[in-house]
């Protein structure tokens, strides 16, 4: 049974924008909101040179890394071709306008990817 932890309201995330979520351990998680109010969560780290994806420009279901313009898919965390590489996606639940992340994932996923 998944244990969900409410992080914020959907409205706390700017439309076509993102927020950073600090975890107990590991690199932060970025939560994104697109124009249709869908919410996505990725490790806040570009697969290219670890740029903070939460600071990128969002369009459609893509975020553009602020450092070198890589296009990263919000659903799978993977770079658009011909670039290659993926960052870790996190499960998201939206209920009653509240955004929740999976506690188990927050505590276990991508902990080794320590920032420099």
């Amino acid at each position: 049974m998944t244990e969900w932890k409410v992080i914020c309201k959907v409205d706390d995330i700017p439309v076509l924008g993102a927020r950073r979520v600090q975890r107990a351990k590991g690199v932060e998680v970025a939560v994104f909101r697109n124009a249709e109010d869908r919410v996505f969560a990725l490790l806040d780290q570009c697969p290219h040179k670890r740029g903070p994806l939460s600071q990128g420009l969002v369009f459609g279901d893509t975020v553009v890394c602020p450092l070198h313009n890589w296009h990263i898919g919000l659903t799978d965390g993977c770079a658009h071709a011909p670039d290659e590489g993926c960052t870790t996606p996190f499960a998201v639940r939206v209920e009653h306008g509240e955004v929740a992340l999976d506690v188990n994932e927050l505590n276990t996923l991508a902990l080794d990817d320590a920032s420099h």
């Binding site: 600090q22 990128g56 420009l57």
Partner: protein, 817 residues
């Protein structure tokens, strides 16, 4: 409803298959696709038949889409089936093969991509054995086979294709005579001088010519194979192989049978729809668009893109014609022509000619109304791509006219390490200094991945994808590696893949139709993507707020990170903060506050910038707001497309040489124009005497004080490629300096394209135009200056007035689990 629309394509050539590729990219599942091709091969690169004939490439190497590609994309391919009939009422096509069997396929949409047929001279004997056209793999193979058995070949037609055929046959050991009816070779691409040079060079290789010769008949030997060519003057030449290359005709036989309107091609609209039947489209060499049937690949790919867009039901692409260029694919012969290379006798065109017959170099440039309209190069074509770009852009060349002939490298426009000639660079030479891409890697990607355009090269190799200073080099490499036919030729450049509109069109629409929001722009201009992309959104945002100050609201989510957070992001995700120091002057009090902030927030690096300011590097995002507050100085906008620094020297206040108070002038300019967003960053400098310690010669606006007043220089640039600012006007008073500078800035703000520096803007519109607007038109100048003041009046400082400046402060706080 899961019923898929049926799309049938007649023809399996380059333009048609490119259309399908574009379509699948946009919408992979909309159609069931069936393709009929008369040839037994999958889609191959017809342009490269000449290297195959010359033995420089193999047939396998020129396949563009192997059979797997068709099956991977669920495309049903029928090779060796020729469509002979189309029932437009029942919407069904019928094809036959060599065994006279019949295959049929129903369609909802039909693409005719039947290409063109070689034109065969209507002379007796044209049906003899050994008489060929030069069009497809079968012809090429027949020529290769003939070369092993026979000695004497005649090529009729001294155009591009004929000469390539002749060269290939010669390489295969045949004695080749080229028969040409015209006065000189390639008269549709070359002028008389260049044509003569070409002929001489080919003669030196052993090719023979019969110029001005009219073919009367082809005569047979006793076995019914061609043996000689007879001319109208009674002479003849031995010919065991005759290749006719006198031109191509759009293949409209099927279309005419279907009663589609044809006139030198199947007549199509700007969406490539036939004018007769809206379910039927035509693309490629068979299509006549605005009276032109194109024969080069670049325009056909443009058509394919538009057609795919239409078939994908986006319905917004429009094809509006192309400019084309030509390059002969004969190894060792460099020849390039584009545009109106002959000029006209109406007195409106001018020619610049460089002729050195001894060295085999000839260059002719045609200029009309200060624009380059044509070029014909022989022997030295390294600048072909550059001339072609000037031609496409239609920019004024008045300012570079005297250097134009000597090429791009002579106007200081060179790549990394000063390289300017791609052809002579070794493979391990670095082309793109930003991304470390070597020439060899670019060539390899172009060949292996079949890249055709600058954009594709950028995506796959990253070359010229960052600062762009090596773009000219990369275009040269593309042209040399892939052949001139490939250089992309749209007349106008779309902002990005979300639209077909150019920067100018979007600017105009926002101004003329008062489009105040991004959504309004997307709707009015029928954007293809609902929320734009990282390229178009920042541009649109700038166009809105610069066209409609105080009415259009800034959209922070359409700004890239630096302008959204009002600080510069660094490689580790921290930020840098540069407070404004008016004219580069500071005080003990300010320095003390900066020092305290550095201690308080553990800021690792403090650096003096090139713009006479202080940069604090390594600030955490969550500290930005407090750092700004504690420093208590205005934003330096070092992160923005806006006025950055105004660099000054100490001037007459202290300097024993100073003639004017340059520091005060600089401070006044900066206080009047800070917070001014612009298409790109803007830098000023003011020097107090001609020694010019503030380096005003490389700024967007440089002011130099002299005893009798101020000299104003504009459109300099000290960045990617150094551009010396041009003298603009001599002014008497500080008030005039303010007014003229403000007017120039406002003109640039209103007319510049997003990410276009002043130097590029001025190059595009021409210095004369800027002078007319600002120097000659006093009322216009004052109005521009007034509009700038209106726009800047009450403009907030984003470091302190968050609400007014649309700063979303949520970005500075992290959420916690």
């Amino acid at each position: 409803m899961t019923h898929k629309l049926k799309l049938v394509m007649v023809g399996n050539g380059m333009a048609g298959v490119r259309t399908l590729e574009e379509l699948i990219k946009l919408t992979p599942d909309l159609y069931d696709i069936t393709v009929f091709g008369s040839e037994p091969h999958p889609n191959y690169n017809r342009i490269l038949l000449s290297p195959v004939l010359a033995g420089e490439q193999t047939l396998d190497e020129i396949i563009l889409n192997p059979l797997d590609w068709y099956s991977d994309n669920n495309i049903t391919l029928h090779t060796s089936w020729t469509v002979t009939e189309v029932d437009r009422i029942k919407r069904i096509v019928h094809a036959t093969n060599t065994a006279a069997e019949v295959k049929s396929a129903p369609y909802d949409r039909l693409i005719l991509a039947t290409g063109s047929n070689p034109f065969m001279l209507p002379v007796p004997g044209r049906e003899l054995d050994g008489v060929l056209a030069y069009r497809d793999i079968a012809d090429t193979q027949a020529m290769i086979d003939a070369a092993t058995k026979y000695k004497h070949a005649v090529v009729i037609g001294g155009g591009l294709l004929g000469l390539e055929a002749a060269n290939g046959l010669m390489k295969r050991g045949m004695r080749v005579t080229v028969v040409h009816v015209g006065e000189w070779l390639m008269e549709r691409q070359l002028d008389k001088v260049a044509g003569g040079l070409l002929q001489r060079s080919l003669e030196e290789r052993g090719m023979q010519f019969r110029m001005g010769a009219h073919t009367q008949a082809l005569q047979a030997d006793k076995n019914g194979r061609v043996a000689s060519v007879l001319f109208k003057d009674g002479s003849h030449v031995t010919a065991e192989l005759v290749v006719m290359a006198v031109g191509i005709r759009p293949n409209t036989a099927l279309a005419e049978k279907m009663h589609l309107h044809c006139e030198r091609g199947i007549v199509v609209s700007d969406t490539l729809q036939t004018v007769t039947d809206p379910r039927i489209y035509a693309v490629g060499e068979c299509a006549a668009h605005r009276g032109i049937a194109y024969g080069l690949v670049a325009p056909l790919f443009e058509q394919g893109k538009v057609l795919a867009n239409h078939l994908a039901e986006f319905g917004i692409g429009r094809y509006s014609g192309s400019l084309t260029s030509t390059k002969l694919k004969v190894t060792g012969i460099d020849l390039f022509s584009a545009g109106d290379f002959m000029g006209s006798d109406d007195g409106n065109t001018e020619e610049i000619v460089l002729s050195d017959p001894h060295e085999g170099v000839y260059k002719k440039l045609i200029i009309r109304n200060d624009q380059l309209v044509g070029a014909c190069l022989y022997g030295d074509t390294v600048d072909g791509s550059w001339y072609f770009k000037l031609l496409r852009d239609g920019r004024s060349v008045a300012d570079i006219r005297e250097k134009l002939m000597f090429g791009e490298s002579n106007i200081g426009d060179v790549g990394h390490e000063g390289h300017s000639k791609a052809a002579s660079m070794p493979d391990d030479a670095e082309v793109c200094g930003c991304n470390g891409v070597k020439k060899g890697a670019i060539c390899k990607a172009i060949q292996d991945k079949g890249l055709f355009t600058l954009d594709e090269v950028r995506k796959h190799t990253k070359a010229s994808a960052s600062c762009g200073s090596c773009t000219g080099l990369v275009e040269q490499i593309l042209m040399f590696t892939a052949g001139g036919d490939y250089s992309a030729t749209p007349k106008k450049k779309a902002i990005c893949g979300c639209t077909d509109h150019s920067h100018q069109e979007v600017r105009d629409a926002i101004r003329d139709h008062k489009l105040l929001t991004n959504e309004a722009v997307f709707k009015f201009l029928e954007w293809k993507s609902p929320t734009g992309c990282a390229t178009c959104r920042p541009a649109i945002n700038y166009y809105r707020i610069s066209s409609w100050p105080k009415e259009a609201l800034d959209d922070p989510q359409s700004r890239l990170i630096n302008e959204r957070s009002h600080a510069n992001i660094q490689k580790d995700g921290t930020y840098s903060v540069i407070p404004r120091m008016w004219g580069g002057e500071t005080t003990a009090d300010e320095l003390r506050r900066i020092a305290d902030v550095v201690d308080k927030y553990n800021i690792p690096t403090v650096k003096v910038t090139g713009g006479q300011r202080i940069d604090l590097l390594g600030v955490k995002k969550e500290d930005l707001v407090n750092v700004w507050k504690d420093i208590g100085m205005p934003s330096g906008h070092a992160y923005a497309k806006a006025l950055r620094t105004v660099k000054t020297c100490v001037g007459s206040e202290w300097c024993r040489m100073g003639t004017q108070d340059s520091t005060q002038m600089g401070k006044d300019l900066e206080k009047a124009m800070w917070r001014m967003y612009a298409p790109h960053k803007v830098k000023f400098a003011v020097s107090g005497c001609p020694r010019n310690c503030a380096e005003a010669g490389i700024k967007d606006v440089g002011i130099i004080g002299v005893d009798s007043g101020w000299e104003m220089y504009i459109a300099g640039n000290g960045g990617i490629k150094t551009e010396v600012a041009e003298f603009f006007v001599k002014l008497k008073t500080a008030e005039e300096v303010m007014e003229y500078t403000g007017a120039f800035m406002q003109l640039y703000r209103e007319e510049g394209w997003y990410l276009e520096r002043t130097v590029h803007y001025v190059n595009r519109v021409g210095m004369d135009y800027v002078k007319r607007k600002i120097l000659d038109d006093e009322a216009g100048r004052k109005a521009l200056w007034a509009r700038l003041q209106f726009a800047l009046d009450g403009e907030p400082d984003p470091w302190f007035e968050f609400d007014k400046a649309q700063v979303d402060t949520r970005q500075f706080e992290a959420l916690t689990v």
